[in-house]
Amino acid sequence: MTNGKIEKVAVIGAGVMGAGIAAQVANAGVPVLLLDIVPAGAAEGGDRSAIARTAIERLKKTDPAPLMSEKAARLIEPGNIDDDLARIGECDWIVEAVIERLDIKQALYAKIEAARRPDAAVSSNTSTIPLHDLVAGLPETFRLNFLITHFFNPPRYMRLLEVVAGADTDPAQAARVSRFADERLGKSIVRCKDSPGFIANRLGVYWIQAGVVEAIDLGLAIEDADAVMGRPFGIPKTGVFGLADLVGLDLMPHINASLAKSLPPADAFHALNRDLPLIGRMIAEGYTGRKGKGGFYRLNTANGGRVKESIDLATGAYRPSARADTETLKEAGRDLRALFNAPGPVGEYAWRVMGRTLAYAAGLVPEAADDIVAIDDAMRLGYNWKEGPFALIDRVGAAWLVERLKAEGATVPPLLEQIGDRKFYRVENGRLQFFGLDGDYHDVVRPEGVILLEDIRRRSQPVLKNGAASLWDIGDGVACFEITTRGNSLDDQVLDALDRTIKLVARDYKALVIYNEGRHFSVGANLGLALFAANIAAWGEIEKLVATGQKVYGALKHAPFPVVGAPSGMALGGGCELLLHSDAVQAHAETYAGLVECGVGLVPAWGGCKELLVRWSAPGKLPHGPMPAPAKVFEMVSTATVSKSAAEARDMLILREGDRVTMNRDRLLADAKARALELVEGYTPPERVEIVLPGPSGKLAMMMAAQGFHKRGIATDHDLVVADGLADVLSGGDADPTVPAAEKDVLRLERETFMRLARTPGTLARIEHMLLTGKPLRN
């Protein structure tokens, strides 16, 4: 059944991409067979699956981690094509990720065709070979079930999946693979035409090539070039040269050549695609980027130093990196037209690279994509641009762009002519619409089952709102609490809004979801405010904030309706404590949660210590007795441990049994809402519990461990001060193991200890350092 579930996957080719794809399949909890060739000269009786096995070992060590948990690693089974190909008969989807050579791929397809189940889908991860070439000469049964699924590196973290279905591909099969990739692998699907480089790389490679060539021609320093290409356009600060270092310089000539070969002669890429001797030389000398000795940038560690250096595009020599000249950028601000018009090389560079890239993008519809949304999605998800090229054109003005292109005699893509002075996107009756090739506007349609706060915001007013948070009605009696501060940090205003939310939801709604669409769920309490208060010795204010937080979080936990926390990205400190006070967590797979207060010299004081103690004290988690739970929490919190995935957050008991994980970021709100509705019937708030705590002897045992780390040079002097406070809280102060402590006893200890530590110079220095540098101070 081509619409059946995908329950097992085979990935053939255990290189970086193949292994990474296998890892993401395993992250989804789906078993995967990873095959590669038998190593040349494999000894008699030697490991014939060594390549795949080595790839799995490498996955475990790679940073950032391709695997979300140790359990996931065990779902990948290594094998080799000679002995194990028949086993792809167990699989519902076979992904080919072997070397980019048509003859090799086609020979493999013939073998796959003989071994696969009739209903199994086959896809290629090719980034350069057109689908019609891949299937040429292959039987119809193969063509019917074949498509291209082009992942981006690293497959776990890059959300884009380009899907190309051929003329013969069964739409049901393409839909089946796309649904699996969307719901289970968490990818956003962009449908591409069978055109060279598909969408993201077609445009991305053009942009990088333009960025390099024009910087050379204009004599611009690479720091300046990257500064222009980064922030002003909402592009990662790596810009063009930093990105090339990341991708690998050695790949550039290959990609350029293969693209140039398959593009029509009139394509604008050809004009940019010239041989760059500097890059050739860098590759030859091993300067292939971050994976090599360095690239356009390098870290010079000679003479024991650590100096960041940049290459001089004219001489090819390294020199210490300079601060980018951002004067022009500052003047232009967010006004891209002003930037393009700015006199001098910076403005000229911006125009030559980005102006042309935008024009090039406009020329890709309908050749590479059916509509502009696909192009924008591809660049947002595949290159991490904040906005796609058409959204950027809207900022510049299409008419202005056309005029400028005409002024320099450049070709103007028909789509730009067609739109005139209108915008590519508009909001009509609260709905986001895009400009179609037919000249009409059409609703941007979300995949089935996706709910985005972004859309709800467009068409409704918040139920409640202040400067730090909003409450939205997301339908079916469920409300959504959205924090709106920078980094979604928490302050008295957020607490106030949450307090009012609890009362309002109790009256008017069935359930509450805590969710937002920021990069991070919440980075924790607003340290700037805390430091300010400390500096003016407003201790009473700080104490009040701590007490209010405890009160509001407590009210949240014991509210008469179910609460579902739905994090994505970081959920740190007070943000993590929000999750700990929710009835359930529906976490995006990429959730990085932890109580990190000790890093800034404090202890969790909005009930975080209490919640973790309760969770770890639950029967069956640890050996009996008063010590294991506090010791475990001490170990996690004193070292400010943060999970590297939702799976790890589950190991830390930030997620509990019954809590679920959503792989696709865009489906998080819908899943959280569904979970909240599940909890509504017969909901009773959790009861307050008593905790057996060890008292002073337990504190002593914890501090013995901390002192050991201090002696070994792992814990710092102030770490010991903070650990002492944390040990006080977790051991229950004067508690006696025969007299269980109440939750409020632990809350009191949290408050007292927080206030004591907040007054220490070591803690204030930590907070200040964190605010200035974003990194913890190890004092």
């Binding site: 007795g625 008063p626 010590m627 060890p694 002593l700 045992a701 050991g708 002696k711 070994r712 193991p737």
Partner: protein, 378 residues
Amino acid sequence: MKNVVIAGYVRSPFGLARKGDLARVRPDDLAAQVVRALVERSRVKAADLEDLIMGCAFPEGEQGFNIGRAVGLLAGLPLSVAGMTVNRYCGSSMQSIHIAAGQIQLGAGEAFIAAGVESMSRVPMMGFNPLPNPAFAKTRPGALLGMGDTAENVARQWDIGRQEQEAFALRSQRLTAEAQAAGRLDDEIVAIDTGKSLVTRDGCPRPDTTAEALAALKPAFDAQGTVTAGTSSPLTDGASAVLVTSEDYADRNGLTPLARVVSVAVAGCEPEIMGIGPVAATRKALNRAGLTIDDIDIVELNEAFASQALACVRELGIREETLNIDGGAIALGHPLGATGARITGKAASLLVREGKRYALATQCIGGGQGIATILERV
């Protein structure tokens, strides 16, 4: 008074805690296999056994429930054989032997199994619920010092440098590797059935280690210190057992006595330098035996740490050629409760193998103690 003899010695292979082959084996199951093998190999009549005295340093969790009795039942000893658990930390199973010897001389039995076990994989050092007395910690802070810290103190006080410690560790590794390669450890080892496989070899030794590799290690306990993982005994899983009987009983029943127990002793010392504990204990035992260290042909000195072993060697005047001739705990491992029976049984069997007269087995004990046993070949 009756003469007391060691009439049998066996042990399990020693495995690296957590990572080794025995990590998934319950300590009571492990010890039961060793005890059963001791009965079979020594050919003692099980019904004659008075008691199974089990040493264990952290007798809780899977090592709780009076593991001495549990092991007796698991091993299928007759119900009439009693069982007890003894805790003197690292000296636990040597203490088991001492108790057995004392009982025999008291006329309270003729044959005993003195055994020891520790799964450092399954029951952590300090146990699951470390609850030290805070008042005691104030008056006697050194009593709760980590073992590594005490090793650093000994290294400082006896001026034992890092190089000297590493040379000692290398010697331990070399002698163990030679003994292992020559099959000299095979007779004492009982293959352990883990349910999945049969473990027959010690897993801790690092025969390939080099002076350079040891020199490259970071200090394990004190950033400014000299003690590394390479000069410390590793966390280990293992069990050992010896048969202790009266000499008459052994003769009457056709057993093969290895050595007679000549004298025993325990002694306390400063907790901060617990590693020096063997010195006072050994001096007492020698004195009781009317011997000097020069009379001793075979020494089994537990290598908790190279620094403390070297300090004891220096203080006692132990001759190198007598010392741990099949290697020691730095290479072989130190399953706390099992070590005492291992080194005493080993010393007894070495007397036979080497044709020597007197042997000393001694070890240091956390909290500031030492324990020693002097044996004479039968």
